[in-house]
């Protein structure tokens, strides 16, 4: 009886597979032929999960306005998107358009001839009248525009106003005052900095401001451009300070393995004093049941005459191998998503747009405040400014210094070795 049942189950399964597989294949071929018959253009778009909340209705309205363009969007987590793009790039299966970050993260695609050159489009569509100049600069590689600017964000020190009032503090105006405040906050029993070391990028935000403080803007820019040696004493001092803050327990115990998003959570309940982050924190503060304006923000006091903030851009790139019709449709979609009408309509969820002018969201008061703070200039965030091989060594150096495995001087030397290896390979 048992064996008969088993054979029957296996037979049923095989039949199911054949039928369902045939259905699946037929659906795909039907769709492809209908598209070519009706003159429709189908473009594939890869974006992030947390953009779905506003991109889904935007894509619906785009397709309603452009009935001959069909958009197939895929929503990814941050790391899966990076992974999928790299595999697709290597196997020549990139989508028509994709979201990516600026600097060296996005540079991989134009460097390898995988993106559409948008320089002429930018000129003829007068992008300089639409997008802010910093955003346009940050999407250029070899003086060619390689992406449609989407977001531009800068990083500031966020603090809970209530905690500051309780400790009788004001936003610091110098590096020394900032350090004094951290000492006072620690004495009061509160860990000053909300930092998570997992992935390296959260600690990097502090490291790069320490570099700006000790090296100054000129040397810092040269370090990022690989035109100065990372074995410089200013780099050593930056790592020394990082180690000092870690030893003084200005970070949470075990922070080096902590997820940055988890590390930030105690800040919302005033159990941390600072987080070096962007205006998107307003959404997280609201989600935790607090008013975003109960938090203040100041520029990291790096003691430079012009206090620069760390900034980065996000953009849409278009496949260079897509056919002309698809590229045209993708440009239309990219300009639609990033244009003033759509941005203003969805500004509460949109984040910090790359536009010259837009309506600020009441739900994110720090977006407008930080837009005003960037007047003294900005530098490109390190994980976009440096080649990825060097970025990984920088992350390794941070961890090794904090854990006492490398001396601060050794950290600089190791990064310099990675720079030389990178240069010799290019």
């Amino acid at each position: 009886m048992g064996k008969k049942r088993l054979i029957f189950l296996l037979a049923i399964t095989m039949v199911l597979v054949v039928v369902l597989s045939a259905c699946s294949s037929k659906e795909g071929s039907d769709k492809a032929s209908s598209a070519s018959d009706t003159g429709e253009t189908t473009i594939s778009l890869w974006v992030l999960n947390d953009q779905a909340a506003y991109l889904k209705p935007i894509l619906e309205s785009f397709q309603k306005d452009n009935p001959t363009i069909h958009v197939e969007a895929t929503y990814y987590g941050t790391d899966p998107l990076k992974e999928s793009l790299k595999v697709a790039a290597s196997s020549k299966t990139l989508p028509t358009m994709w979201f990516t970050w600026g600097g060296s993260l996005g540079a991989f695609y134009p460097e390898n001839g995988l993106t559409m050159d948008l320089t002429e489009t930018a000129a003829s569509h007068k992008w300089s009248d639409i997008y802010n100049s910093a955003a346009l600069d940050m999407v250029k590689y070899d003086n060619k525009t390689s992406g449609i600017p989407f977001h531009v964000a800068s990083l500031g020190m966020f603090y809970p106003k209530e905690l500051y009032a309780k400790l009788n503090l004001n936003p610091p105006t110098s590096f020394a005052e900032f350090e004094q405040q951290m000492g006072k906050i620690k004495e009061s029993g509160i860990t000053p900095l909300a930092v998570g070391g997992k992935g390296g990028w959260d600690v990097m935000r502090l490291t790069e401001q320490l570099l700006e403080h000790f090296a100054g803007p000129e040397l810092h820019d040269k370090l990022n451009a690989l035109e100065a040696s990372w074995a410089d004493p200013a780099v050593e001092k930056s790592f020394e300070k990082l180690k000092e803050w870690s030893d003084k327990n200005y970070f949470e115990k075990g922070f080096i393995t902590l997820d940055p998003l988890e590390a930030e959570t105690p800040l919302y309940q005033k159990e941390r004093a600072y987080a070096l982050t962007g205006p998107w924190i307003d959404t997280n503060i609201s989600g935790a049941g607090n008013a975003p304006d109960s938090f203040g923000v100041f520029k990291f006091p790096n003691d430079q005459p012009k206090v620069r903030m760390s900034s980065f851009t996000e953009m849409f790139q278009i496949s260079g191998s897509a056919d002309g019709k698809e590229q045209e449709a993708a440009v239309k979609l990219g300009e639609y998503i990033t244009g003033p009408d759509i941005v203003n309509k969805y500004i509460d969820q949109y984040g910090a747009p790359a536009l010259k002018e837009f309506t600020f969201s009441k739900q994110s008061p720090h977006t407008s405040e930080m837009a005003g703070m960037i007047g003294d200039g900005s530098f490109l965030i390190s994980d976009q400014a440096l080649p990825q091989a060097v970025v990984q060594k920088l992350f390794e150096a941070q961890d090794a210094v904090v854990l006492g495995e490398w001396t601060p001087a050794q950290a600089g030397q190791e990064i310099q070795k990675a720079v030389e290896t990178y240069k010799s390979g290019n």
């Binding site: 947390d50 299966t93 959404t283």
Partner: protein, 276 residues
């Protein structure tokens, strides 16, 4: 008398150890359950091990709304892929153990190579192949990849088990008029049920939890599996831990059902993997 006292003492120690281990394993699950029942504000405001201020059952329905399509996809993938994979593995193990051909051991070693190649190294060529044959974004494409990666382990387990079945059974079946397929389906397969049940559990678990291959080879949201669905609760700048926890709890139900259904065979089946 002394022996009985020793035996009772060792039993008590064993039970205490097992209870402590069970608590260690259950604590994270308890945290997930409590997180799934909290609001975001409650989670941030109160310690992670605190009971919810107000029990928020709605998290489960909200998580289900987002995840139901992915759960359906994963069920489809697992229910189709697991039996086909095991059938192929059983046929291969049968041939390797009972058909007495010259290169059986060499062929077995060849199959095992599949377990030694890191699948990350195969992503690009596989993506190119699937694209070339028009199998990207199709279930047959993903079945082939999954089955390919699962076959070596399945053959290893089943080969071990099938070798322990006496050859005399084959001879009797042959005398009674069974051909090779008859022997396989009527004699060997029913006897190998413990090993097959074990493989069903392990294969279902690995298929259900698989993420990287599906994420690379399926780019249509409507076809993605449950592991990708869970990622919808994680963003670049924030994570929705309450819905994520509710989603995780929903997603483990099918695995529990499969395990409970086949677990009585589990240990007996695993023994096959280590037999000569």
């Amino acid at each position: 008398m002394e022996e009985t006292r020793n035996s009772t003492f060792s039993k008590v120690v064993n039970y205490i150890l097992l209870i402590v281990l069970a608590i260690i394993f259950l604590i994270p699950i308890l945290f997930i359950i409590m997180t799934a029942l909290k609001s975001n504000a409650d989670l941030v405001k109160n310690p992670v091990y605190a009971f919810p201020e107000i029990v928020k059952w709605g998290n489960f329905s909200e998580a289900w709304d987002k995840m139901s399509i992915y759960i359906r996809n994963s069920l489809f993938i697992s229910v189709v892929k697991v039996p086909i994979g095991i059938l192929i593995e059983a046929l291969a193990a049968y041939a390797l153990t009972r058909m007495n051909f010259k290169w059986a051991n060499a062929l077995f070693a060849f199959f095992l190579i599949g377990m030694m190649i890191p699948f990350q190294a195969t992503l690009v060529p596989l993506n190119m192949m699937l694209n070339h044959f028009g199998l990207e974004n199709t279930y047959p494409g993903i079945f082939m990849v999954y089955i390919g990666f699962g076959v070596p382990f399945g053959i290893m387990v089943l080969r071990g088990f099938l070798r322990s079945i006496p050859k005399e059974l084959d001879e009797s079946a042959f005398i009674d008029g069974c051909g090779e397929l008859g022997k396989f389906f009527r004699i060997i397969l029913p006897i190998a049920m413990p090993a097959i049940a074990t493989l069903i559990i392990l294969d279902f678990l690995s298929t259900w939890n698989e993420f990287l291959l599906a994420q690379i080879f399926i780019t249509k949201n409507s076809m993605l599996p449950v592991t990708a669905g869970l990622l919808t609760f994680q963003g670049q700048h924030s994570n929705d831990y309450t819905l994520l926890s509710a989603g995780v709890l929903i997603s483990i139900v099918p695995i529990l059902v499969v395990y409970l259904f086949f677990q009585r065979y589990f240990v007996a089946g695993m023994a096959g993997a280590v037999k000569g």
